[in-house]
Symmetry: C2
Subunit: 416 residues, 2 copies
Amino acid sequence: MTAEQQLELLTAGTEDVLPEGAFLERLRIAERERRPLRVKQGFDPTAPDIHLGHSVGLRKLRQFQDLGHQVVLIVGDYTGMVGDPSGRNKARPQLTADVVEANARTYLAQFFKVLEERPAPPRLPVEVHRNGDWFSKMSFMDVLRLAGQYTVARMLERDDFAQRYAAKQPISIHELMYPLMQGYDSVAIRADVELGATEQKFTLLVGRALQELHGQTPQIAMTLPVLPGTDGVQRMGKSLGNYIGVTDAPADMFGKVMSLPDAVMPLYWRLVTDATPPEVAEIERALGSGTAHPMEIKKRLGRRITGLYHGEAAAEQAQRDFETQFSKRGVPDNVGEFYRTAVDSVAKNPDKPLVIDYLVASGICDSKSSARRLVEQGGVDVDQVRVDSPLFEVDPGSDHLFRGGRKLLRYRSLAK
Amino acid sequence: MTAEQQLELLTAGTEDVLPEGAFLERLRIAERERRPLRVKQGFDPTAPDIHLGHSVGLRKLRQFQDLGHQVVLIVGDYTGMVGDPSGRNKARPQLTADVVEANARTYLAQFFKVLEERPAPPRLPVEVHRNGDWFSKMSFMDVLRLAGQYTVARMLERDDFAQRYAAKQPISIHELMYPLMQGYDSVAIRADVELGATEQKFTLLVGRALQELHGQTPQIAMTLPVLPGTDGVQRMGKSLGNYIGVTDAPADMFGKVMSLPDAVMPLYWRLVTDATPPEVAEIERALGSGTAHPMEIKKRLGRRITGLYHGEAAAEQAQRDFETQFSKRGVPDNVGEFYRTAVDSVAKNPDKPLVIDYLVASGICDSKSSARRLVEQGGVDVDQVRVDSPLFEVDPGSDHLFRGGRKLLRYRSLAK
């Protein structure tokens, strides 16, 4: 592939690629000098479960790998062992070397479900470094020299520091060191490109500054968008319970994809599958024009994602099981349907209808108060999942299956 | 001596002893437990010349030593070797270990002109530590833990940081570490008391905070006033050329003391001699009531200070030489005198008379313009020192000897 073709593929789905224009130059130099770019991503081995949100960066790295570039993973083992000495940050506990190493291994095993650890040439095996390799050898004096390369004021410009400082919330001095450490990782491995999430942009730029001070060409800073979770709104995360883990069983993975709101499907196609930009464009067109049914596209998405982590056979099986279970639970093909207009006519807020609105609109219940009671008694499923709250909002833009007691009705988001 | 007596002696001449009341308690505990207090002072071995300004702290330490306490000197060799990695601070060059060690030895040799390195029991030998002993063994992780014990906001409260931050002058992150390092020195040597100059108060308090976090009783922070130089106004310092070095030859030392303005004599007695508080009080009384002539008190001061650094015999010789040289230069005992009223009558600003006012008032010159010319031609000495500027101010509160061409007259500050 030419540098220009690589640029198109590699910048697809990214948020920022800084500085403007430099990435194409870097790709051209690599092409001319016939050397791979060194593409870095770091991670803190704190909680050992990764999900599709993490895979956004990994998929991008995989594209680099497929194009023959050198992927370099940095395990932040050293910072993990430090924890938060001020004791204020519960998310940063002090971990023993054993725990950090165990977490790192678990993480890497999951990473290699996306990246190829040892691919066939000309693709390159992934390079893995633990930043303790260099930080554990640094003396107090080395640390002071590193700290001397950045000013307090510039560091406090970082969004979260700026907000906390303005709000007079304590910031410990060691916290100013973490971005410098991450930046120094780029120096240590001579990164050409570093990938990170949106909120890491500042740190990626610190890496550029430190590389320049160490006589290196500063890295390209590439940020990727945040993936919403299965609720379609909030960032995917373990604590919110809206995540799809890369080690989830095929059936769970497929089922969770099927529960996604239709609106986020294009984003998922773009960020967490191996679909090419033209393929994604085609899917968006089909969804937009109504030539494909959203349910079918979603099944393809579930099959594609499950296939990436469990292979095509397991994905096919997961789909079959999903469809069988759907019918086993007694969902006849010719189940009765109801439409948006019915919901609009009963909902207080037609933009955000509640489960009880659907129950009344469908005729399952004859009043909102009886619908409320039925939900509270645990008698209502939406899309085969028990609903606990009468105030549960259900997206009117996607299809759903409602079960209330023994009654079953399908909601269709399309006009009749 | 009882704790109360020690308190009186040790707090004499100090500026702050913090926290209020704690020092007496600490002295009582030491008395009760029959253990000496550990009294710390640190210094950076950057420029190898020390002067009476530095001796203010050393004299206070000597009092502690004489009372049987343990003096602990910290050589800041480690910070000296770091220098200023940002390259902005010229006063903090990066020194080699050899230079730092040579400076430290020179410094210590000078310190032991005030402190007794190995006194006879029950007084205790001075303990000397190089802070590289502990800092060179600290890992990056140890540094992060140390940095985690203080917040950015609290550190930026330090006067000079606050001013620079407000003025948008760069502060490198490593600079925030220096106060923590000095504070950690107190932890390392388990200091009971730390001495410092006025502007070090903040750092002494950082030491208290760190000790507490390390489970130690926080040290007493004792600050000492700044000694004015031979001009009587500006802080004594090498760059201002207004200093009396502790290694100055006896004659120079004596002569420089003789050039002091009368007004600062009590401060010198208090801060840089071994005079007891009652003795200082007596001198102040004598000066105030006019029962002693300032010149005589100044000679005693010169003799006392010179004696401290060169022994009594050398000091006596220095005084004799000074007096002989004075008369050799042709100052007859019965030189003519003039008084303040004469100066007041010609000076534009009688509070701050200029050398030319004295020349006219004394009759040496018959007009200010001829006095100006005489000064500009290099023909005027005040107190045996050539004066270059017609606008040179001469303190009307002390006696002076004026020479203009071949004429010689003594100014008397006392009323006739």
